[in-house]
């Protein structure tokens, strides 16, 4: 399913250079959704560098990033780990039949107060 994603795709989509990373772990230390991830932001960086895209692409971690940009702001080397997570997720959901959430899923998730912004965000993040 994800075996056809190559490292070059991820580097191109993200514009990130994982070689700038010094593996200090600050990105993961500051990530507010750390506990929910199997692979953490600094691991995304090192695993992309090592070409281990398949493992990342198969992990639910790609849906756990909140795009809060704490890792981007606080990385001392300006690596921008969130962009790598986004790139792996996009490389997965851009494939036929790989949407993570579909419009049909939305009605069951609605409540009276849910803002449109939440639905638009989810459709942008979880499907193509």
């Amino acid at each position: 399913m994800s075996g056809n994603i190559c490292t070059e795709d991820i580097l191109r989509i993200s514009g990130v250079n994982p070689r700038k990373c010094m593996q200090c772990g600050k990105c993961s230390g500051t990530c507010p959704n750390f506990d929910e991830m199997e692979y953490h932001p600094h691991q995304f960086v090192s695993m992309v560098r090592k070409g281990q895209i398949d493992k990342l692409a198969a992990s639910k971690s790609i849906y756990k990033c909140l795009s809060c940009f704490a890792c981007v702001e606080r990385c001392p080397r300006n690596v921008e780990p969130a962009k790598l997570i986004e790139a792996v997720r996009l490389a997965v959901i851009r494939q036929q039949g790989m949407d993570y959430m579909r419009p049909d899923d939305i009605p069951a998730l609605l409540d009276d107060k849910l803002p449109q912004q939440a639905i638009v965000s989810a459709m942008r993040k979880y499907r193509k």
Partner: protein
């Protein structure tokens, strides 16, 4: 003082109050907001991928419309502000994105990032001035202890958003002082509420919100204030430990200016 105004989809629906109070307060302060014609939803999340053009186009249309009028583009929703400001930066600094977006849109005048994007709070601070806001207050919110909730989108990445110190911001606290209330400082004011994860993993959003609200309650806040409809939703609907009233900053401003709803 006149601005092009981009309200965004949620301010026309679930967050009508953020918009309505913002418009009335602006009028009371002598600020004219001209809504952009035929604006389209900004997409709510900034497209981080360098190869996505379509998801940037609605922002570029709004930015170009403001440029045509020679006005700054004023935003109110944190998410719209984040998306439009960052797309504007792409149009200014990324030649590939600029070329492809312009090829697609074929505007009369190619858009190259000239418009200044300004958030309502920045308008209050930098154009009106908090001193003048304070002078216009008829009903100071004396005795109220208000926790400012910045969340992520207004502040980060600070290189582009350039609103305030990303780790020790003060614009909302200064606003709270200007309307006569007391700001309450607590630890999680610039950490994420969970955002859109509320749809996919409610428990994760609840965990985030409980950490934020617990901190604000422990610091003695009676209200928490936000500029973002999704933060409003999470802080309200996904709090499981404490309940703290959540308000839009424009509602507090309208109240302080003595504007009767």
């Amino acid at each position: 003082m006149k601005f092009s105004y981009y309200p965004g989809c949620t301010l026309k629906t679930k967050a009508k109050e953020l918009d309505a109070a913002g418009r009335k307060a602006a009028a009371a302060l002598g600020v004219e907001l001209e809504e952009i014609e035929n604006w389209q939803c900004c997409g709510a999340v900034y497209p981080q991928a360098t190869d996505e053009i379509a998801t940037r186009l609605s922002s570029v249309r709004a930015l170009s419309a403001a440029e045509e009028k020679g006005q700054e583009l004023l935003t109110l929703c944190s998410a719209c502000h984040h998306v439009i400001k960052r797309v504007n930066e792409d149009m200014r600094t990324n030649a590939d994105i600029r070329l492809r977006a312009n090829n697609y849109l074929a505007l009369e005048k190619p858009y190259t990032g000239a418009t200044n994007v300004i958030h309502y709070l920045e308008m209050l601070r930098d154009r009106v001035g908090f001193d003048n806001v304070k002078a216009a207050v008829k009903n100071p919110l004396k005795g109220r202890k208000i926790a400012a909730y910045y969340g992520c989108l207004l502040l980060r990445p600070s290189k582009v958003m350039a609103m305030d110190d990303p780790e020790n911001p003060s614009i909302l606290e200064d606003f709270i002082k200007a309307i006569g209330a007391t700001p309450v400082i607590y630890s999680q004011r610039n950490e994420c509420c969970g955002g859109y994860i509320a749809l996919d993993d409610k428990a994760a959003a609840q965990k985030r919100v409980d950490a934020i609200i617990s901190g604000a309650v422990a610091a003695g806040a009676d209200t928490i204030v936000t500029a973002c409809p999704l933060c409003m939703y999470n802080l309200d609907a996904n709090a499981t430990k404490h309940v703290l009233p959540v308000q839009y900053f424009t509602s507090l401003l309208a109240e302080a200016l003595g504007i009767v709803e």
